[in-house]
Symmetry: C2
Subunit: 338 residues, 2 copies
């Protein structure tokens, strides 16, 4: 059997830290004998969260850190100054080859800055994108990039498409993932200066299945498996996506509880609605991977519960077992045209 996959989990990151974070890491350990987990954070807090849980003690390690990076801190400063934080220590373990991957529900900005500054990029990768997986009517879609690359060059978006395609193909088993470029119309000449420059690069890249420009509505409708965009637009889409879904579901619940009659009906439709909402839960695929680094960094939602953390650890294991970084290296060696 191959070496165990070693995943570091930031025990202090997110709204539910350390309790549900630690629980998720333990669940992942119990589920898969081929994984080893290190929890970074305040040891006393972690031990408390572990008490009462059953887990293989030889595969769970704790690295005590005094500091925690808070959500509101300026990311780059935090990464540079809080050297004894659960995030910096975890990222350094990946950088040093002591671990394969790092999972955090903490500050997105700090994870992005830390991934780039501490872990470092694969040779040839210009910038590492952050790529959340969104649920759609027909399956998951990778929205790449939603990271720190606000004004990217066209060549970066080509790399995002290449990495996103390899990622989705390996992680979800989709054959030749459909890659779309987010624009304002399907015709090649539609878009802004960036997309007009990116379109021909994607079109001539032989290793991806480029299906052309897409519009925002194609994402929830599941028209593609990989949606390529700059991080500014990606962030706007991601937040709008989550916001609209959140508001509608909230209003729906309110409406169902608004009258005696609707309350009675709500009890009857509840099981069917639950099934539907499960379909729209993309956390089964783990968190958002930050790709193109020497290792894997996974950012889960700030409100992650144990299940998302467990899935994120499983995601790291699959990423390593499929040697996705090895595939990225090969793809980059083929040169800019794939």
């Amino acid at each position: 059997m191959a070496d165990k996959v070693h995943v570091v989990v930031d025990a202090m990151g997110g709204d539910n830290a350390p309790g549900l974070i630690v629980k998720g890491a333990v669940d992942a350990l119990n589920e898969n004998a081929n994984v080893e987990v290190t929890l970074t954070g305040r040891e006393a807090d972690i031990q408390k969260a572990l008490s009462g849980l059953q887990y293989p003690k030889d595969r769970l390690h704790i690295v005590h850190c005094e500091e925690v990076i808070e959500m509101a801190e300026p990311p780059v400063d935090a990464i540079r100054t809080k050297k004894d934080s659960s995030m910096v220590r975890g990222l350094r373990m990946v950088k040093n080859g002591e671990a394969d991957a790092f999972v955090t529900a903490g500050s997105t900005g700090a994870a992005l800055a830390g991934g780039q500054l501490l872990v470092g990029r694969i040779r040839g990768i210009e910038r590492p994108p952050l790529a959340p997986i969104l649920p759609t009517a027909k399956g998951p879609v990778l929205l790449i990039d939603c990271g720190a690359n606000m004004d990217p060059r066209a060549s970066m978006l080509l790399q995002f498409a290449q990495m996103g395609s390899i990622y989705m193909s390996n992680m979800t088993g989709i054959d030749k993932p459909r890659v779309g470029l987010v624009s304002v119309g399907t015709e090649e000449e539609k878009g802004n200066a960036l997309t007009k420059e990116v379109f021909p690069l994607l079109k001539s890249c032989e290793t991806i299945n480029f299906v052309g420009n897409i519009e925002g509505r194609d994402i929830p409708e599941g028209a593609v498996d990989v949606a390529v965009t700059d991080a500014f637009t990606g962030n706007a889409i991601l937040k709008t996506y989550e916001g609209v879904a959140g508001v509608l579901i909230h209003e729906l619940k309110d409406a169902m509880l608004s009258t005696t009659r609707s309350k009675a009906g709500a009890l009857l439709v509840k099981p069917a609605l639950k099934d539907m909402l499960v379909k729209f839960d993309a956390t089964r695929y783990g968190g958002a991977p930050m790709l193109g680094l020497k290792g894997l960094v996974v950012k889960t939602h700030g409100n992650s519960k144990s299940e998302e953390i467990r899935n994120a650890v499983a995601q790291c294991v699959l990423f390593k077992e499929k040697d996705i970084n090895g595939q990225f290296v090969k793809e980059m060696e083929l040169g800019p045209k794939g």
Copy 2:
């Protein structure tokens, strides 16, 4: 009494033309004695749609045009070559001062190109934005720009904020509309090169109530009345917004009809859900205004029914009666800082 407001309606634009378009125009006429409507399009088709409808004949005019601009045509070409189309003839009437406003459910691209090329801009306005009104949990929000300005200058976004603020204040009665700049975080230093340049311009503009950066999720949550962005991002947000809401409502209906039990429940919750969906229907505010032109152009949804057309005509009347273009002119005369 003041002169009647004269609105031209493109009888051939949209999925439901001419039937429901003509019906909507007639409803608007019957509702308000101070409006005059001209329908542009094939006279025989329009007469057929009018047969059986009751309306004041002295306030309804028909301008026969042989041509129709189709949805798939290249917009600029269509506007330049189809001089006898319902859209070009209607826009020319606004340009020539024969009408105050033009309403169309036809091609957005052609309406944008035609507004800019045929109607012309108010002095001082760099580019006319298209600003759809989105429904939110707390009221309508104007998303400005979703038009043709793909790579705008910062000074254009300042003008969008100024016009959007005046528009919302007058049209929906909101006092000091809250203006937000779409970005990737609330802090001033967050964003791309464009938003970083726009932020200080909005901050120092004394005639608007700038509340700072917003994220995509703040739009459905109703955190602002005016959301300022470039047309590329605006289009991505708009299409994602409509797409996510459409997919969720579709899946919800499917789920409710999936079992005998859920069907029984659906009957009971239906009235409450209908009330909720009415709240999320922004068509009561009309269509998306294209602002900064010498006149008003309103683009309604391609699938507009009579109610949206009726509301769009009412929107044109209010726009004229409140002299919003006069207010834009004054605002521009105050100079770039408002």
